[in-house]
């Protein structure tokens, strides 16, 4: 039940300032891992290092960003992620001695962290137990995908488990929360990207104190706590939220008492090498700003365990609400995170020159062929196929699992590699003998089929899409009995548009599982279905 406005003003009136406890954690092993990865990322993302090196840098950046903002468990996954580059000698030959040294350092760090439990997890467990023992109400601010790491903190039967109601994961959830005693947040306060949180945490607190756990060296975003009334803000000290308000403006008078910093960990903070922990987010952000190409901010709709769709903030999205009372309100244009929320379906019309067969929930014509061939190859020799793919340059992490996934029958989308060149390698490796059709290679036709299933037809025909949108809404409203039936118990479905609709193509429905913001994405990747692993590269 959201708090009323009066309750919030009463709460703020009794809260002259809110208190921040900042717990900085250091670990020599994790510092070693960070330092190694940081050096590799900076070096490999240079343009002249080549496309593959850039991709590896991006992947490393994603891993490190996650480890800096999420209480991950230190297990074999970290070492596996770091060692994806393979033989150190090969690394040296390809990218030079400096990368090799950084790689060795990162591997040593990844091995060393496994010797003890992640100190962030230890401290988080202590903080939450302490809050519970003092009967303090609390919420944990974390993105939906990070929650399992928090819930796994309390698997001991002696502890109460963390419930969904203990978490806040979006600005909407924050807005709808009542007042409580303590907010727990892991990672620096950032408006965008990994570990991001609403500015309202500072400008409209619903809590009395903030417990923030950060790895050493990580600083809050200087512009965090933005209020358009008092912009431009002048920040005197990044972490203290002390700022001057321009004359002619009355500030909200909500003060944040300078953070009390506690330093934890088996590191000597005052030792000369303690300064080596840098703020990776600041470092990575500089890289993003310097990179060419048009990118746009985006919000993610997670539409299944593996897939998501990115939309620009405030874009009007065609959607279906199974719980809505009236015909008109069931099919409507809505704004993601505002009026389009979890449990509703995003509707993706694939209008135009598209032919996925009679029923798009079945495999497409060409995907049936290559998936069958892939399944045969997997049955004969799975390891050999993966080896061939790697040798040809399809060097993805967890490759065997991914190939298994590509062989799965298509659902609403066709499971396949995300990149065109990877798909070409796959078709080449399974040796499908097919002649070009109309001068177009077979693999290219099959790739077009995959693109269409992901909604790229919308990208290609954006203008037409806008024109037919109104017509489509009217038509879908007449199809509500069928849509209601299909939506029951399903997370995705689709059907071809009948000829009487006046439109040619298919319409796909995807249930929104969760919503996440903080992405910067090339415009061409918007409104398309991507694997969540692919999407992570655009998180800032």
């Amino acid at each position: 039940m959201p708090a009323t406005t009066s309750q919030i003003f009463d709460f703020l009136a009794g809260l002259p300032e809110f208190f921040t406890e900042r717990i900085e954690i250091a670990s020599p092993a994790f510092s070693m891992l960070r330092r190694g990865l940081r050096t590799m990322i900076v070096r490999l993302r240079e343009e002249e290092s080549g496309h593959e090196a850039n991709e590896i840098a991006q992947r490393m950046r994603d891993y490190l960003s996650e480890w800096l903002t999420v209480p991950v468990t230190y297990d074999g996954h970290i070492l596996e992620a770091v060692k994806v580059l393979g033989d150190p000698a090969l690394v040296e030959r390809r990218w030079g001695a400096d990368v090799r040294m950084a790689y060795d350092l990162a591997c040593r760090g990844a091995q060393a962290v496994q010797l003890e439990e992640n100190p962030v997890r230890v401290e988080l467990r202590r903080v939450i137990r302490d809050l519970r023992s003092r009967n303090r109400t609390f919420k944990i601010y974390s993105h939906h995908r990070a929650r399992p790491y928090f819930t796994s903190l309390f698997l001991d039967p002696a502890d109460l488990p963390l419930l969904d109601s203990d978490f806040l994961g979006s600005v909407r959830e924050y807005r709808e929360a009542g007042t409580f005693d303590t907010l727990v947040k892991m990672g620096p306060l950032r408006a965008w990207g990994w570990g991001s949180a609403p500015d309202a945490i500072v400008t409209a607190p619903r809590f009395q104190n903030l417990v923030q756990l950060v790895w050493s060296g990580m600083a809050d975003d200087p512009g965090f706590g933005y209020d358009p009334v008092s912009s431009p803000v002048e920040v005197q000290e990044p972490s203290s939220n002390s700022r001057s308000v321009p004359s002619g403006v009355l500030g909200h008078c909500i003060a944040r008492r300078p953070a009390v910093v506690r330093r934890l960990g088996n590191s000597d903070f005052d030792a000369p090498d303690a300064a080596l922990d840098e703020d990776e987010f600041k470092l990575f952000q500089q890289g993003v700003e310097n990179r060419p190409g048009e990118k746009r901010r985006a919000t993610l709709a997670v539409v299944g365990p593996q897939y998501g769709i990115l939309y620009t903030p405030n874009s009007q999205i065609l959607s279906f609400d199974p719980m809505a009372a009236t015909t008109d309100s069931k099919i409507q244009l809505r704004v993601l995170g505002e009026t389009l929320v979890e449990g509703m379906f995003v509707v993706m019309p694939v209008i135009g020159d598209v032919n996925l067969g009679a029923d798009p929930t079945n495999e497409g014509k060409l995907s049936r062929i290559w998936k069958q061939r892939l399944r045969e190859e997997l049955q004969i020799n799975r390891e050999a196929l993966c080896r061939i793919l790697r040798n040809k340059g399809l060097n993805l992490q967890h490759l065997p699992g991914r190939v298994e996934n590509w062989a799965e029958p298509a659902t609403t989308v066709i499971h396949a590699p995300q990149q065109r060149k990877h798909f070409q390698i796959l078709i080449d490796a399974i040796a499908i003998e097919a002649h070009p059709v109309g001068g177009v290679d077979w693999w290219q036709l099959a790739w077009n089929e995959i693109r269409h299933s992901r909604g790229e037809a919308i990208q290609d025909g954006m203008h037409e899409h806008e024109i037919v949108e109104e017509q489509l809404i009217e038509f879908l409203r007449t199809m509500l009995p069928r849509i209601n039936g299909e939506a029951t118990g399903k997370t995705s479905f689709g059907f071809p548009l009948p000829t009487e609709s006046g439109l040619r193509g298919n319409v796909l429905f995807f249930k929104v599982v969760s919503i996440d913001d903080g992405f910067v994405v090339p415009g061409t990747e918007l409104k398309m279905i991507h694997e969540l692993n692919t999407i992570e590269q655009w998180r800032i």
Partner: protein
């Protein structure tokens, strides 16, 4: 005066509500000054914009010229011209933005009068624009009809179809001063304004549409011990209650439509960041004062868009420190910025 929010128990009007009503009331203190733009930022989503409108509306109740009587005859003439020369023969009913005809709303040519509720009145093509004489055809429902050439004073009893009457001369149905007076004791309400509509104050609702705006206002209630009214009713937006008169025009940002054919409002109060930005970009509101009421529990993108607009305005506007200094004590949690157009 008692206050209740979403059916909570009655209690004295809280300081945040008092402040917002006073803010709206005090806005018109210097009515002839340069254009001003204000931004109020709230710590949560609320009915704050509606409360500012209520304050501004109460101020208008004290102002002798705050009614639609002045120039009503000219408005009817303009309406007749729009109907006869454009809308009657238009093949694009009704999308003024697409047609780019310069009008904001379709003219059906039909008028109504509270004095003759069963009669239909339609603008006649015998209207004499050069002589400034409007003519209409009055039908009584029994096949009787008459061509009428009304005097300006008589025309005040007629209003455009789907709009509020300009004046209410019936024995009951005027606005009750009790609650308004109780909310702001200092206000000297002019009795004649309680019987007249006014379109000089405009409430730009939520981006999600009129229903969302109404819902938020319906959750706020006031009572003076004998009568209780919701904010939704007190605002007198046309169609929000059974009150025939309306002293607040409504702009729906979702449809881009205002609820009446009216002259430019002196003040527009926008509910939310999207509504504020939409109003800021509309041609018809470029001369009006503008108050935007936003909340900070929203996405950074939305906040930055508003901040960028405020910064852009600073090329031509200065901070109005004088107005800020004159405000009553601001409750913790509300931040305010006011800009005034340079000389």
């Amino acid at each position: 005066m008692q206050f209740s929010e979403y059916n909570s128990e009655w209690k004295p009007v809280p300081p945040w509500v008092e402040f917002l009503i006073k803010f709206g009331y005090e806005w018109r203190r210097n009515p002839k000054g340069a254009r001003r733009i204000a931004l109020l930022s709230m710590p949560c989503d609320s009915a704050a914009a509606g409360l500012v409108v209520l304050g501004a509306m109460m101020r208008d109740l004290t102002v002798p010229e705050a009614n639609d009587m002045h120039g009503h005859y000219d408005k009817l003439l303009l309406y007749a011209r729009q109907y006869l020369e454009n809308c009657r023969t238009c093949d694009n009913i009704c999308n003024p933005e697409q047609k780019q005809c310069g009008y904001s709303k379709q003219a059906t040519g039909k008028l109504r009068s509270p004095l003759l509720p069963r009669q239909t009145v339609e603008i006649s093509d015998q209207t004499d624009f050069e002589g400034g004489q409007i003519r209409w055809i009055q039908r009584d429902g029994r096949r009787n009809q008459a061509l009428v050439t009304p005097f300006p004073d008589h025309a005040k009893n007629y209003h455009l179809e789907d709009e509020p009457p300009v004046i209410w001369n019936q024995p009951s149905g005027e606005l009750s001063p009790d609650l308004y007076q109780a909310l702001f004791g200092r206000a000297i309400i002019r009795p004649e304004n309680l019987r007249q509509s006014y379109s000089g104050l405009c409430f730009a609702g939520r981006a999600t549409g009129e229903i969302a705006s109404r819902e938020v206002c319906s959750g706020i209630k006031f009572s003076n011990g004998t009568v209780e009214h919701s904010l939704e009713r007190l605002l007198t937006v046309h169609g929000w209650s059974d009150c025939a008169l309306s002293r607040v025009a409504f702009f729906n940002p979702r449809t881009g439509q205002t609820d009446r054919n009216a002259a430019l409002p002196h003040l527009v109060i926008a509910d939310g960041d999207s509504s504020f930005l939409k109003v800021a970009g509309r041609k018809e509101f470029q001369q009006s004062d503008l108050v935007g009421v936003i909340h900070r529990t929203t996405e950074r993108d939305s906040l930055e868009a508003v901040g960028a607009k405020m910064t852009a305005w600073q090329q031509w506007y200065d901070f109005d420190e004088e107005m800020l200094c004159g405000l009553p004590p601001v409750p913790r949690g509300i931040s305010i910025s006011i800009l005034r157009r340079r000389g």
